[in-house]
Subunit: 486 residues, 2 copies
């Protein structure tokens, strides 16, 4: 029997990760075995010993070893402990291991499940400020149900797939809305998607290759970070201040590096709520043109700005790939969004979009097109007013119930509050305390590609009632006091 | 000025491709310029000269050159012809070319738009046998509209995203149906997707890496081939006969090669309509287990077999990744399907699914779950009966209107007829003649990963009325006579 491969293959543990520790141990050992760092028949340390070395519970190591046994990678016998199974590593698949053990490597990043968390059905009693869903009032449901009822019995909408580019009348309606915001968009520039999430994956897979660099904001939408990680892209973070992305930082980066694209959310930025000022908009587009690096403009909230301005796409149709969605302005469960892009790459995007789902639901597209014609323009101002009212309510409640040391990002609007706790208070500790008090939110690290966010957190003001908004802020206020008191 | 790089970089043309010839020329020249095969300032042959060499119209070359000018890759001056632009190739992006010119390479395969064609809204007067959509009668629409109306006013279905794994009651309903077909599926094994197309991309991207080999049937579903091409996978074809996939061929391949998975459609196979016999099913699963290569079972038609048998997934939950959809049994515009997979890889699939669209429309899921409870079991036998009746009608019409030399695949069922023309008749020529006569179908090459299909074509018997089914067969009969007469 071989000597132990330790400590060369000693698992390293990140206690701040949301990946369970047993899974971190399991994955590191699995990789060490498959790559031969731990050769066949290597004896693993007893569970108790490893648990002590790693300073974790013994049951955590037991759990990790059990997964390795399930995979056929290690053997356990009473009295003689655990060892790497014969021929578990190389050559792949020759040994008695299930097929999935030799799958291509799979890197999930630090917050692998964040998209799932942002989507998941809420259970339990806590007041949850996690999800960026529209408020229940003003409700689009009555009119939307009528629109769907008008199309639901038409076989040409329901019993076919429809053009993978999107339903022609919907493409025209979207293009007309974009033209009213200063763009030169025509219906044929619009590719209908199931949401802007699909658009982010589409550009990540179509405009870049694994290993390529891109520029992102810091903080930024964590769902985008998850997608970029899955696509193997390396995100270069650029700070955001109260006027939006620090375009001067972008300029500095472009002097020496060649990112594939610049991902930005210039209107009601998630999570800070800021909207990029006009100077920076023009400078960013000029920079992009000069460096020949396209901008990916993610614009789910563009129509919710109180005093709307045109998107970046209005400044350049060639250098801005534009994404938006009806998830925030009508309803998330529509799964309906779109992308516009220069004609030359439209076909490339279209073919890949087809591979994701052939075409977006024609039934949903026809229903939403009907809704756009009949009810959307009345709904939007009501929604804007509700967001404004809620922000005022939240600001007042925070002023009343929280200490002055908690800072709210300036100049914000839209769905989110972005908060900074004082130096001595970590947002995760505050989250633990808040959850004990019956309220929850997203802590800041998930919004940063690299480091940052330890003292930040995001509260969506929309998924709760106005009353819950106030009482949730009170509960978090109590949590702040309890954490501050330590 | 440099010498011409010709004929090293002479474009090669595939006249049988559905990619326009000008685009083939454009793409080959673009690649040659970007890779430096045609260095900067290389003089290109005059349009007329190249057109003669390639035996194409001069306007075709003019069109290709014009695209290269648009991209900034070549320059044209009156009197001095065309030459490669300065610094158009290396280093990338330093020259005065738009950003998209230096995008990562993009390989689209022979039939890049086939998924789009299978989805596209039909225009014009031709009787089209192209698309695999359900027949208009028996119609699910009345009951489906009622189901949607019952969920459309519930904010918990419409104003949220919902679990990215899928709506829990729908997952349970799907699992129960699979259990009734002999599987051990539980709700937590079911990942809801927007259709089986999404599932094919999901396995192509999650279970393999670009360059990896997989096994496919020959012929097979062309949408799957498009997806595998986009994912960079190399498909090894295995013949299909009247008892399904030639599992003995699979065995021979597995002796020397290590494909990542085996893609098969064992029930009412697209396009041949055959269903794999029991012997081959058991042997295929045994082979997969022995070689440790998973099977990807694509089963959109499993519930439409006249005498249903269990899916391959009933023989092994570990070695079969199972895909199905409601597109063929209820309505394509639902964009609703699912995948089941071994627990160990479920998370991997889930995270990637999230990147495609965050979650499948909860509104649609809730509506379909209601439909499954109230109407689906009554709809299915009516749909099966309609398919059977249409096949009989089609067989009779073919016997009456076509020569005996046209062969219909034996043992078929379901949505498609797979036909073989005699040696002297190419399916593309027949398609041209049929379209002149007002009927259209899909020619065979798109169904083959490598060569094959020149004499085959597929007719979907479902997207037309029963009357059009007969008159379309008559029209094709006249086309056969006209082509045969040449």
């Amino acid at each position: 029997m071989r000597e132990m491969g330790w400590p060369a293959a000693m698992p390293s543990i990140d206690r701040d990760s949301i990946v369970p520790i047993y899974q971190q141990i399991y994955e590191e050992l699995r990789e060490a075995i498959l790559t031969g760092t731990l050769p066949e028949l290597t004896r693993l340390p007893p569970e108790r010993t490893l648990a002590e070395k790693l300073n974790v519970n013994r049951s955590t190591v037991v759990h990790a070893y059990r997964e390795l046994v399930t995979d056929g990678l290690i053997e356990q016998r009473v009295g003689s402990g655990s060892r790497v199974a014969r021929a578990a590593g190389h050559p792949p698949r020759s040994a008695d291991v299930p097929w999935w053990v030799t799958l291509p490597p799979w890197r999930v990043g630090s917050f692998p499940q964040v998209l799932g968390e942002l989507a998941a059905t809420i259970h339990g009693e806590r007041i949850s400020f996690v999800q960026g869903v529209p408020p229940v009032e003003p409700s689009p449901l009555g009119e939307l149900a009528k629109s769907f009822a008008r199309v639901a019995n038409d076989p040409s909408y329901v019993l076919t797939y429809g053009d993978s580019e999107g339903h022609a009348p919907l493409r025209e309606a979207i293009a007309a809305r974009m033209r009213s915001r200063g763009c030169e968009t025509t219906a044929r520039d619009v590719l209908v998607l199931t949401g802007s999430t699909q658009g982010i994956t589409l550009v990540a897979q179509s405009l870049a290759e694994p290993g390529d660099e891109i520029i992102v904001e810091a903080p930024t939408y964590p769902g985008a970070l998850q997608i970029f990680q899955i696509a193997g892209l390396r995100a270069i973070p650029v700070a955001v201040d109260e006027d939006g992305m620090r375009v001067d930082h972008v300029e500095a980066i472009l002097r020496t590096r060649r990112p594939r694209f610049i991902y930005t959310m210039p209107a009601l930025h998630n999570p800070t709520g800021v909207t990029m000022n006009d100077d920076r908009r023009e400078r960013l587009v000029t920079l992009a043109q000069r460096a020949r690096v396209p901008i990916v403009e993610d614009d789910p909230y563009g129509e919710l700005v109180q005093h709307p301005r045109g998107p970046l796409a209005a400044l350049s149709s060639d250098y801005v790939v534009y994404l938006s969605t009806f998830s925030k302005t009508i309803a998330p469960s529509l799964r309906l969004g779109w992308i516009t892009a220069p004609r030359t790459i439209f076909e490339r995007l279209l073919l890949r979009k087809q591979s994701y789902d052939m075409a977006t639901s024609l039934y949903v597209q026809a229903g939403v097109r009907d809704y756009l014609e009949t009810a959307y323009d009345a709904h939007l101002p009501r929604l804007r007013a509700e967001l404004e009212a809620r922000r005022a309510i939240a600001r007042d409640a925070i002023a009343e119930h929280w200490p002055k040391t908690m800072r709210l990002a300036k100049g914000g609007g839209g769905f989110y509050l972005w908060l900074t706790a004082p130096r001595e208070m970590r947002a995760r500790a505050l989250l633990d305390a808040a959850e004990r008090n019956g309220a929850t939110f997203l802590f800041g690290e998930a919004f940063f590609a690299a480091s940052g966010g330890d003292h930040n957190f995001r509260m969506a003001i929309t998924p709760v009632s106005r009353e819950e908004l106030v009482s949730g802020i009170e509960r978090i206020g109590a949590a702040i006091a309890s954490v501050g008191a330590r």
